[in-house]
């Protein structure tokens, strides 16, 4: 079986279309983040308390809201969690400024209230997440450092294995992927949690992976096809690998999509990043990474040409 036999698409010709698409997506995300007053951080990175409560029967959000309203908890967010059949509710409380002493005051208060108020529809099980202020800040810093470090390490590796500009192209492409995905994350209302950071680093790995496959083919082609221009060689590499790109992206996409659809609420935001990331990461190879390399080649050729022009008249005088 075969799909897409021998394509001859001039990918680089469409670079301005690609740039425009990316720019629009980026702006949509940026506007959304701005409108929402910044990215939403999950409890891992901020501070506060989340209680996941599992009831015997379907819980009523409104009655829980009323039960918790006249407590000293301040503003409380109450949502249904995961599949309806699991009877779960998520309750999130911010840490109160005046709250001192033990970290778990809010969680205990919520659980006690629920146990007391719901005698018929009993509380079956519960989980809690409580994060103090110090931990959140430390994590945020660590997450940023880890992402930057991963990018730098890849830039260096690709720079060594290929040429420096290839590393730059791959890094810009990855940056593009991260920014677009962040925008979509905000647009779909997901929070940044520890798991989401893990997903982002995976996305970085995947995107670079995809870019390297193409660059590797470019490197190979340049050895055999010395007469052809770099643009032609890049187009050829993309076309040669097009089936592979679609098939693997497709297969990985299937696995990640199953995670997103049936993996449960805990993995929802994590798999969302991967679902988006695989599409964006594959797209950025031909839309961003390859044009960057081709553009750099043109700039350099122009520069050598200019230098040749300026040096040519100077030559007679020197001799």
């Amino acid at each position: 079986m075969d799909i897409l036999r021998d394509t001859h698409i001039n990918w680089l010709k469409y670079r301005w279309y690609f740039f425009s698409i990316s720019l629009v997506l980026f702006l949509v995300g940026a506007v959304d983040i701005y409108r929402k007053g910044g990215l939403r951080y999950g409890i891992d990175f901020s501070e506060g308390t989340i209680v996941y409560a599992k009831f015997e029967n379907t819980p009523e959000i409104e009655s829980i809201r009323q039960a918790l309203a006249n407590s000293s908890l301040g503003e409380v967010i109450i949502q249904r969690y995961d599949q309806p059949s699991l009877n779960q509710v998520m309750i999130r409380a911010e840490r109160q400024a005046e709250q001192t002493g033990d970290l778990d005051t809010a969680a205990n208060q919520i659980l006690d209230t629920l146990r007391e108020r719901y005698q018929e529809n009993r509380l079956v099980d519960s989980s809690t997440e409580i994060v103090g202020p110090v931990v959140g800040q430390e994590l945020r810093r660590k997450a940023r450092n880890a992402t930057l470090l991963a990018l730098a390490a890849m830039l260096i590796y690709i720079g060594l294995r290929f040429e420096f500009i290839y590393g730059v192209g791959a890094t810009i492409a990855v940056l593009h992927d991260v920014l677009l995905t962040l925008g979509l994350l905000s647009l779909f209302g997901y929070e940044i949690s520890l798991n989401v950071i893990a997903a982002f680093l995976t996305l970085v790995g995947y995107s670079v992976n995809d870019t390297i496959v193409i660059f590797d083919r470019v490197r190979e082609n340049r050895r055999f096809l010395r007469r052809k221009s770099l643009d032609e060689i890049i187009n050829l590499a993309i076309n040669q690998n097009l089936r592979r790109t679609l098939l693997t992206a497709g297969a990985t996409f299937l696995t990640v999509l199953s995670l997103y659809l049936v993996g449960g609420e805990v993995l929802r935001s994590f798999s969302f990043v991967l679902v988006v990331g695989i599409i964006v990461g594959t797209y950025s190879t031909l839309a961003i990474a390859s044009p960057v390399v081709s553009w750099w080649r043109r700039v350099r050729e122009k520069r050598t040409l200019d230098r040749a022009k300026t040096e040519a008249p100077a030559a007679p005088r020197a001799s």
């Binding site: 699991l86 970290l103 997440e129 110090v134 893990a198 670079v208 299937l254 449960g264």
Partner: protein, 518 residues
Amino acid sequence: MKTNMKWKALLIALVMMVFGWSMYPPQEKIPLGLDLRGGIHLIMKVNTVDAVRAVTDETVDALGTLLDDESISFQAIESEEPAQIRVSGLDINQDQAFRALIETNFLSWDPTRPEPGVWELRMRAAELNRVREETVAQAIETIRRRVDALGVAEPVIAPHGDQGDQILVQLPGFDDVARAKEIIRSTAKLELKLVEAGPAASREQLLQGREQPPSGSEILPGASQTGAADQVFYLVEHVPVITGRDLKNARQSIDYETNTPNVSFTLQPEGANRFRRATQANLGRQLAIVLDGQVMSSPVIQSAIYDEGQITGRFTLEEAQDLALVLRSGALPASLEYQEERTVGPSLGADSIRSGVTASLVGLAAVVLFLLVYYRLSGINAVVAMVLNLVMLLGAMAYFGATLTLPGIAGVILTIGMGVDSNVLIFERIKEEMRGGKTPRTAISAGFGKVFWTIFDTHLTSLVAALILFQFGTGPVQGFAVTLSIGLLANVFTSIFVSRFLFDLILGGRRQVEALSI
């Protein structure tokens, strides 16, 4: 079969046996993480300043004694902040003697003289670090003893964070959060001190118009003996007769007079000697039993006591048991502060694992179906490689003692995805070579040869990302990084070596191969 092939077959069989043996049976060999199994995850900060304070106080005492011995006169030795001591009212003529004394006896302190007759001592940075590190290490040891006594299987108790003053505790399968936290955190500092006055209703009564308690003594709060709720105060000697360090054993027992639970303890020989002498000399006086700075009771010494004692209070049975437990495991060198707390209810964990496993199976089925439909017979080859990859991944995880977390499952799925990528890359290249007119045999050879470096580069960069992830990682993220790293390595073996071997195996018997089911 050629000899070469036999060796390869043997190697593959051997690898599979080792990894398969390592992971079998997976339910036992790969424990589930907290998120899937339920349990408690705590991060706490050790207030190392407590320990620094204690060392400073000890030094103040020691310095006072030594100055008296050397007959260097002074007015006061004070410490307003931990790690700082101020000696004032020194005879100016004894400056050199004082300096020499510090430099020979208190090496870890740095002396300066801000004005004549006054010396300030500052704890050196190296010593400060040593005290801090020791405190955290001691706290970890103590917590470990307590957790072991609780009977939690496979607990994690480890240093955490960049500052080096945090401790991570994970108790899988344990769901009484309040009890676990109380046992871990209670300082359990036991001191037996002679009472000079009290109980009294207020501090002022004990001070009798003085500003501070007389030197060598201090005022401690305690619960009223009569059962009333209000607090009472005691004036007690500063230096304890015995402390928790002198304990040999502690256990929960029953007070026969009141028929309520209490804790009885026995002392080690040296402590017992001291205790006997002290009680003998102070017959008729009260002895305060102080726990974490609170006077629990203050019985009158009726006769010399040898090596036994009791702590009474209004304990429930469980409280008495837990107190005995923490006393046995020793006092914490400093107080703890909880910074992060996660608990997962057992049935909520079960819900998560059901979703995670379902997702994995669905993903796996989709990929297998895709490979078989698209690549037909060669698809079987890829599926075999994928299964071996999974065996190696799980086997390595079992070997390293990694736990399976939800992000870990995600890592497994992603590994499958990347494994398929390698196979597709190779298969597509083989097809391409065949279209270029090569025979299947040479096409396979060329395909594997050319794709090798691509797979090498892609896997190495992903590995770099995974290792950084591991460095950054806390708990779940680390689990993901571990599975991904192992999976990547296994992948190189299966997609390049095993897959190639299978192709050679299929083509091996036939002399002339015209077509390949790919």
